[in-house]
């Protein structure tokens, strides 16, 4: 019997394919959620506070946007390995380890971009807020709310970066079938094995997800321009 093609795998809802997609989405969504909380908090803090060393932190954060995934993978591997400082947690080669790696990878991106957005908005609002005597907590809430569309776009960019990443999750997840096999790691493995239909079908789905994420980001932008000015 002929091997099913990539499209047949997708259209038939191949269980193996669906399991890989499901795991990939859940790991990446979880990492985006955690990185969103950490990154937006750090970005807002850096945008609105002044302290010694802040400029250095901003430069470091910007530099960390280009973190090589394999280096992140290696560091998380060393930390979670049996002899590492977090080895007692027993997380190596689990989905949680992949969430940690992806979170480390995209937190600087979300923090650096959100800092810039919030700082620009603060520069615009500063005199008006001071004149209105807006209390501190209300200022932060207002800035986050008024920057919400840009911040959602940043979160989507973080999601996209995490979803497309392969090096870090390969190292800390181990690419174990049915347990830590993600779309990107599967593509790499199946291609090397010569199972091209599965690799191609995963590639199509990954590209479709990226397309949807970018379309969503564009939609958010358009909606914000139309409804919030």
């Amino acid at each position: 019997m002929d091997e099913p093609s990539a499209f047949q795998l997708i259209l038939s809802g191949d269980p193996q394919l669906l399991a890989i997609v499901r795991l990939s989405l859940s790991v990446t969504l979880a990492a985006t959620l955690v990185a969103g909380v950490l990154g937006l908090g750090l970005g807002a803090c850096l945008a609105l506070t002044r302290f010694p060393g802040r400029q250095g932190l901003v430069i470091a954060l910007n530099a960390l946007m280009g973190l090589p995934p394999v280096v992140v993978g290696l560091l998380v591997f060393l930390a979670l390995s049996r002899s590492g400082p977090l080895g007692f947690l027993g997380l190596l080669f689990t989905p949680q380890a992949m969430i940690i790696a992806q979170t480390i990878l995209i937190t600087p991106i979300i923090a650096a971009l959100s800092r810039q957005v919030i700082e620009d908005l603060w520069a615009e609002y500063k005199d008006e807020f001071t004149a209105m005597d807006v209390p501190g907590a209300m200022r932060v809430r207002a800035l986050l709310w008024d920057a919400r569309f840009s911040l959602v776009t940043i979160l989507l960019a973080g999601f996209g970066r995490a979803a497309a990443e392969v090096g870090a999750v390969m190292i800390v997840g181990g690419n174990i079938e049915g347990f830590t096999r993600m779309m990107t790691t599967s593509i790499a493995l199946e291609t090397s094995k010569g199972d091209l239909p599965l690799a191609i079908s995963l590639g199509i789905i990954l590209i479709a997800i990226m397309f949807c994420v970018n379309a969503l980001a564009w939609g958010v932008r358009q909606w914000s321009v139309r409804h919030a000015g």
Partner: protein, 244 residues
Amino acid sequence: MQDRWSYKDAAPQTLLRLYNASLRYGAVDVLQDVSLEISAGGPVILMGPNGSGKTSLLKLMMGLVAPSAGEVHCARSRVSFVFQKSVMLRRSVAANVAFALQAAGLPANDKEIHAALAQVGLSYLAQRPARRLSGGEQQRLALARALSRNPAILFLDEPTASLDPAQTKAVEDIVMASAALGVKIVMSTHDIGQARRLASEVLFLAGGRLVERAAAESFFNLPESPEAQRFLAGDLVISPEVKS
């Protein structure tokens, strides 16, 4: 620096008092030894050529900047400010007013919001995104935000500088209606015609100094200072940078 700017009320009949107030940015003195009192009454118009210190004086009076020397006494909780180019929050017209009310610790219910918008004729645009309003409508919304706080003094920094005549008239009408309701207007402008229309009293600045203060009629008919005479005659009065 902060202790020179007092949050205490000035004397009851006096809404605001400056005593030998100076303001310096780096090596440049933008305001020098300004002393004045502002009491309840008709609109006070700040006039002077570009760079004379009008905006700096307004910001000093409002408490947006602290004096480098001297004292400013004003009840800050009872003042509002409208900028030359007001910043609209990225939300609806009604939500902009609600925000101003909340910031002032006032109830932001529909009745209050509607009353503030009705005062400036923007009720019909309540749900529109504020940033999609025209320039004149945005200034009227800025006025609604400022007036919703029930200020004793309303500072306005050239609020009609970039507006067409119809929009300018709409803003002026709101300003005069507010003055009639007892809000003290302190407004800067370099538009002599507008000053004639609105002023009850004129403060004339040149080179960072308050060179003349007079009732409007007296100022426009018989200006005392040479700078004011030249300004009213249409001469170019160039403010020198005052370096210490």
